[in-house]
């Protein structure tokens, strides 16, 4: 993971972030993420995030479960130790279907949960940088990553023009880390959010 420079802009109302996100994408700044206190419908489309492909992962896990079940039971009853049960064949497919079905569902569901957590960086013990203490309370926070082409002052002026009530520059870990709540290295906040200082 990497330490990067960010400029954050806090907005008070939901419609404002749609407008902000649209302008950010038009202006070509690198949108890091948008944080909202609750799930905002349509924000993923506004941010231009692609549709999830977790279904494909689920299909692959399911296939893996099917193969595991059939190979496991087939090895036991048809290859390793053949038993004559009620005159049925050594590989009785019909008798295997329920267990195959269960294992398919199990593999696919557990695999999808783990993949979902991995993609959203939500494993137990995983920590992420909190850009603004009020981003889970009542503030909609748009975070722009500073690249070599942009300066902090420029982005701050941009947020100012959009009507952000809370603008700040931060140097922080972009990804997740494992451990306690403290960041791997203390991040610097070059200027405190105005409202935070007021109280």
């Amino acid at each position: 993971m990497a330490i990067k420079n960010f400029v954050i802009g806090g907005f008070r109302e939901e419609p404002e972030i749609f407008e902000a996100v649209r302008k950010v994408r038009l202006s070509g700044y690198k949108l890091h993420d948008v944080y909202a206190p609750y799930p905002v419908h349509g924000l993923d489309e506004a941010m231009g995030l692609r549709g999830t492909s977790i279904h494909t992962a689920g299909f692959v896990y399911g296939l893996l479960g099917t193969l595991t079940a059939l190979c496991g039971m087939g090895f036991c009853t048809a290859i390793s130790w053949q038993l004559d049960i009620d005159g049925k064949p050594h590989f009785p497919l019909a008798a295997f279907i329920p267990i195959t079905f269960e294992l398919t569902v199990l593999f696919s569901s557990v695999g999808m949960v783990i993949t979902y957590c991995w993609l959203n960086q939500m494993m137990p013990g995983v920590k992420k940088h909190l850009f603004h203490p009020r981003q889970t309370d009542d503030l909609f926070v748009v975070v722009i990553e500073l690249t070599g082409k942009t300066t902090a002052a420029e982005v701050k002026a941009f947020f100012e023009s959009l009507g952000a009530i809370d603008i700040g520059e931060q140097r922080a870990e972009a990804g997740w880390w494992y451990g306690n709540f403290a960041a791997p290295e203390p991040y610097q906040q070059t200027d405190m959010p105005r409202e935070a200082t007021v109280g």
């Binding site: 549709g51 279904h55 299909f59 009620d86 019909a94 008798a95 279907i97 329920p98």
Partner: protein, 392 residues
């Protein structure tokens, strides 16, 4: 309805009538009667399953169905006609010409204690009364749902009185269907094999007709959309129909397999006869074909999101599922009658002609009902929700 479509429908009905007349010359033919019974029951039960879909969507207060509710109501309004046709055919089979239902044969009844034991249920009197009860109930409740929907159109905007009345009628229908679905499949279809029985049979017929009704609705919706009606139906509604078809294809497979596996495991001669003629006898190819086009093809083809949102792929899949469950009904009726009597399968002009006649008749009936009302319920409380309906 364009003149071209109407003429094709009259053409299809004409083919059906010609087949009917041609078959009537060979009245002794068991194949002809089996086809008539299969097709009439298939179209009747599928339309009744669509009534259940309408009732379930009303009860669950689903908003997606409002955009196509008039199409569903129009198909539901075909139930009385299809019911009368099926009833006439069954009455001929029970009282007049008796090649199909073994239990109507007095000599067979007298000779066999196993049939004598089932006499209260498998008797012409009970059969007739129960059939009248079921068909009349379906028709009346379906007609009531349609009536309430039309009354709602006339009511002032924002009226919820008729909506709640429709919820009550739907609840009554759901309970009524739970009993009559079991009763109809046992007395009309399972009694073709009077010695054999399966407690899962009613569920199996239910799943088959329900998925087929979704396919039928999809075909009607796509046809009407193509003709420029149904401006409220979008890809989101198509996606919902695709989900319905996908889910109930798997549900059908679940019940099909549950019935098959228990009989296979138990291996009791009395029970395995049903699968002996279908799986090991002359119907082997149809058996596997039905399984492939009713499970494997919808499962793989309808799994992805994109295929459920495209008109082309949904049309193809709806046709495949519809034909697949037609074949399923063929596999229910034909082996028990023609297969048992003649030792071989028969599939030919009777099937094609009679099915074409029923398709033409159904399209004409639906078009007639559709023309009598606006294409969507104008005053339904969920009208806005169906316009902004979104499927993930």
């Amino acid at each position: 309805m364009t003149p071209r479509l109407r003429n094709s429908c009259y053409g299809l009905v004409a083919i059906g009538i010609i087949t009917l007349v041609a078959g009537a010359f060979g009245l002794g033919s068991m194949h002809f009667w089996a086809t008539l019974l299969q097709d009439s029951l298939f179209f009747l039960l599928v339309s009744v399953a669509l009534t259940l879909m309408l009732a379930a969507a009303t009860l669950a207060q689903g908003s997606w169905q409002i955009a196509m509710r008039r199409v569903m109501e129009a198909i539901v309004m075909a139930v009385p006609v299809l019911g009368v046709i099926a009833f006439i055919i069954m009455m001929i089979l029970v009282y007049g010409h008796k090649p199909l239902y073994l239990w109507t044969n007095v000599h067979a009844l007298a000779a066999d204690p196993r049939l004598r034991g089932k006499r209260p249920f498998l008797s012409p009197g009970f059969f007739t009364v129960f059939a009248v009860f079921m068909i009349a109930g379906w028709s009346l409740l379906g007609w009531r749902l349609r009536k309430l929907s039309l009354l709602e159109d006339q009511a002032p905007k924002g009226t919820t009185k008729y909506f709640w009345k429709a919820v009550i009628v739907s609840a009554i229908f759901a309970v009524f269907y739970a009993v009559t679905n079991t009763g109809s499949s046992w007395s009309w279809l399972m009694s073709l094999d009077p010695y054999w029985y399966s407690t899962l049979y009613a569920w199996y017929i239910f799943a088959s007709t329900l998925v087929c009704s979704a396919a039928m609705l999809t075909l009607f919706v796509i046809l009407l959309k193509h003709m420029g009606y149904l401006e409220l139906v979008t890809r989101e509604h198509l996606h919902t129909l695709g989900l319905w078809m996908f889910a109930f294809s798997i549900f059908w497979t679940y019940l099909w397999f549950a019935q098959y596996m228990l009989i296979w495991y138990g291996n009791i001669p009395e029970e395995t006869t049903y699968f002996h003629i279908r799986l090991l006898g002359p119907y082997r190819a149809f058996f596997y074909l039905a399984l492939i086009i009713n499970f494997v093809v919808p499962f793989l083809a309808l799994m992805s999101r994109d295929s459920k949102r495209k008109y082309a792929s949904m049309t193809i899949m709806a046709i495949v599922v519809f034909l697949g469950h037609w074949l399923d009904f063929y596999m229910i009726v034909n082996p028990s009658t023609v297969g048992k009597a003649e030792g071989t399968w028969r599939l030919g002009w009777y099937e094609i002609g009679i099915t074409a006649g029923f398709v033409g008749l159904l399209v004409l009936l639906v078009a007639r009902s559709l023309a009598r009302a606006p294409m969507y319920p104008r005053n339904h409380p969920f009208l806005k929700e169906t316009v902004i309906h979104h499927t993930y």
